[in-house]
């Protein structure tokens, strides 16, 4: 069954059209990689899926598990199973990481009509997830992302994903700024969560991440649209030829016809 169906999506940010007719279908159990040059609109796609204000869909639709995603508030999307791992996780001094995550998980559970977890149950769950991700629990006692290194922030995103167990996880350049060990840790975290009921959209600039998180499909995004789709070999071709190769292959007629 199609979990996410994006059709002819046009999105405007600060008066400028960034997505210009993007279409994408993602089924449960699949991993889709979205690649493309800077400014192609990759992060805009992540933000519009998560419901960020200021990202205005002017045309097209996003249907997620049979629901019009664009009508839902960010917190409703989260409760319905959508998760965005941020490219730049936000530092929030004064707000304790554990407290925040418990509030988030329980709000989601409440929305779904599930019972809230008490502190003991929550901590038990946290410990289980920390073990898998090799994250020190010292991270939990700190304020959300405050004073975290780049790598710690990204690992915290993956930890949150593991804890919240989304159905659709969007990773927005989670690999950027990571050294090879941190990259492997992030990939392990993602691979451990691969499941027939769960889908991933992995936005990345480089093919490197896809050595560790092997995608079922690779899409190339240029100027607000997907211009090429294929299997994982497409990522290797891109690595070899660069994005200029895609640009050369684009014929003006094709853009208009899409």
């Amino acid at each position: 069954m199609t979990m996410l169906h994006i059709d002819d999506l046009h999105v405007r940010v600060a008066g400028k059209e960034i997505l210009k007719g993007l279409s994408l279908a993602v089924n449960a159990g699949e991993v889709h990689a979205i690649m493309g040059p800077n400014g192609a609109g990759k992060s805009t796609l992540g933000n519009v899926l998560a419901g960020r204000e200021g990202y205005e869909a002017t045309r097209g639709s996003i249907v997620y598990n049979g629901k019009n995603l664009l009508e839902l508030a960010p917190e409703e999307r989260a409760a319905e199973g959508v998760f965005l791992a941020f490219q730049y996780p936000v530092e929030i001094p004064g707000v304790n990481n554990t407290y925040f995550l418990k509030a988030a998980l329980n709000a989601q559970r409440k929305h779904r009509g599930e019972g809230e977890l008490d502190s003991m149950q929550f901590l038990k769950l946290v410990r289980a997830k920390l073990g898998v991700l090799h994250i020190s629990d010292e991270l939990l006692h700190r304020a959300v992302n405050a004073g975290f290194s780049g790598g710690e922030k990204k690992r915290n995103e993956i930890f949150q994903m593991a804890l919240l167990e989304p159905k659709l996880a969007i990773l927005d350049e989670t690999d950027s700024g990571l050294d090879i060990d941190a990259l492997r840790m992030v990939a392990d975290g993602v691979n451990a969560m691969r499941d027939p009921a769960r889908a991933f959209v992995v936005i990345t600039h480089y093919q490197r991440l896809l050595d560790y998180i092997v995608p079922d499909f690779v899409h190339v995004m240029v100027d607000g649209r997907i211009v090429e789709s294929g299997d994982k070999s497409l990522a290797l071709k891109l690595e070899e030829h660069g994005y200029a190769w895609i640009a050369e292959r684009r014929v003006p007629d094709q853009i208009g016809a899409a």
Binding site: G51, E75, R77, A78, F86, G94, A104, L164
Partner: protein, 372 residues
């Protein structure tokens, strides 16, 4: 209240107040146009109010004042210990501490009108001759008729001694309070203050601290959180008068709806006070287009070798942070509360654990803007 009565209450003339009260002139004028009878220290105190200051952790070390007057009935001093001497002379109280305090002493000031508007004034001095003393100062009031209180203090910290004062002001909109503290900190002594100011119709805090001798130090932490038409005016004035003195001021202000906050932080480093280290930082958060906060940092340096920095900001809730929390499933209203509480909490990080827990609870209850 006529002008002379107001001057007497505030301990200053209108002319003296001209500059430093300029943001509060209208608020003060409105008060001055009202009639205030003298408040009765024997006014009865409801069980509700009693429950709010009956902290188990301060049992036996609690001094309670009703409308400025000592209440023998409500106070409980059996565990005060022999390092603390209490002198009560009508509305002038002096606490003299020799050898510090083992546990905090809880000073409770209640403003309660019996029927019509009332005013009171009192003096409460604290002298620490030696050791490390901790005071919780607590302001509470009953809703109903208006009360205007004025509490003036001298805080003296002798050489090598430490005085920590945590002030919690949790007032209904019928209460106005003028709180003035003049502190003198001697050689190698430390004076630490933490203020959490919630509510009140009109609240003015003047905190003057003189670092009078070599290596004296003061740390000031504080937060105010306002809503409705509440008006709070904070004037911090630190004077480095000797060598190698240090000050560190960190305050937070939050205003919602039509509230008005003023946060004036002045640091003066006098001539000859070389080696002084002065840090002042205030951050303010506006939650509504009709709220206003005036942040004024002032730094005057007359010495040569000084390390000083100061900064003041007024801003709005960080939309990126709000989206981040919501994208994890936290509903908007709760996300706002978390962010506002987190912003305020920075002002009392590292505070005594039981007090911090009480401030957290109060913050959750009294926080402005949570429902917006």
């Amino acid at each position: 209240m006529d002008a002379a009565a107001l001057d007497a209450l505030l301990g200053s003339s209108a002319q003296e107040r001209e500059e430093s009260w300029r943001y509060s002139r209208n608020a003060l004028r409105a008060l001055a146009q009202q009639a205030f009878a003298e408040a009765d220290p024997a006014t009865s105190v409801s069980t509700d109010i009693r429950a709010r200051f009956a902290w188990p952790e301060s049992g036996g070390r609690r001094l309670v004042f009703v409308n400025g007057g000592w209440s023998a009935e409500l106070s409980d001093t059996h565990a005060l210990g022999d390092t603390v001497r209490l002198d009560v002379d009508a509305a002038h109280i002096t606490l003299t501490i020799r050898g510090g305090t083992e546990h905090p002493v809880h000073l409770v000031h209640l403003g309660i009108a019996a029927g019509s508007s009332a005013q009171w004034q009192a003096t409460c001095d604290i002298v620490v001759e030696s050791g490390a003393a901790t005071i919780f100062e607590h302001h509470l009031g009953a809703a109903g008729a208006e009360v205007l209180g004025a509490l003036v203090s001298r805080h003296c910290v002798a050489a090598d001694a430490t005085l920590s004062v945590a002030t919690l002001s949790d007032l209904p909109d019928s209460i106005s309070l003028y709180r003035r503290v003049r502190a003198v900190v001697r050689k190698h002594a430390q004076y630490r203050t933490t203020h959490a100011l919630f509510g009140g119709r009109f609240v003015r805090l003047d905190l003057d601290c003189e670092l009078a001798d070599t290596a004296a130090r003061t740390d000031s932490r504080g937060v105010f959180a306002l809503r409705g038409r509440q008006h709070t005016d904070v004037h911090l004035d630190v004077r480095h008068a000797a060598r190698d003195t240090a000050s560190d001021v960190l305050w937070r202000g939050v205003a919602d709806q039509r509230a008005r906050g003023i946060l004036h932080g002045a640091i003066t480093v006098a001539e000859g006070a070389d080696g002084a280290d002065a840090q002042l930082q205030t951050k303010n958060l506006l939650l509504s287009a009709n709220a206003e906060i005036d942040a004024q940092p002032v730094l005057e340096i007359y010495a040569d070798e000084v390390k000083a920095s100061h900064g003041a900001t007024v801003g709005q809730l960080d939309e990126r942070a709000l989206f981040y929390l919501r994208s994890r499933g936290v509903p908007r209203a709760i996300a706002r509360s978390l962010l506002i509480a987190g912003f305020c909490r920075e002002a009392y990080q590292g505070e005594d654990a039981s007090l911090a827990a009480r401030l957290d609870a109060l913050l959750a209850e009294r926080l402005p803007g949570a429902a917006a």
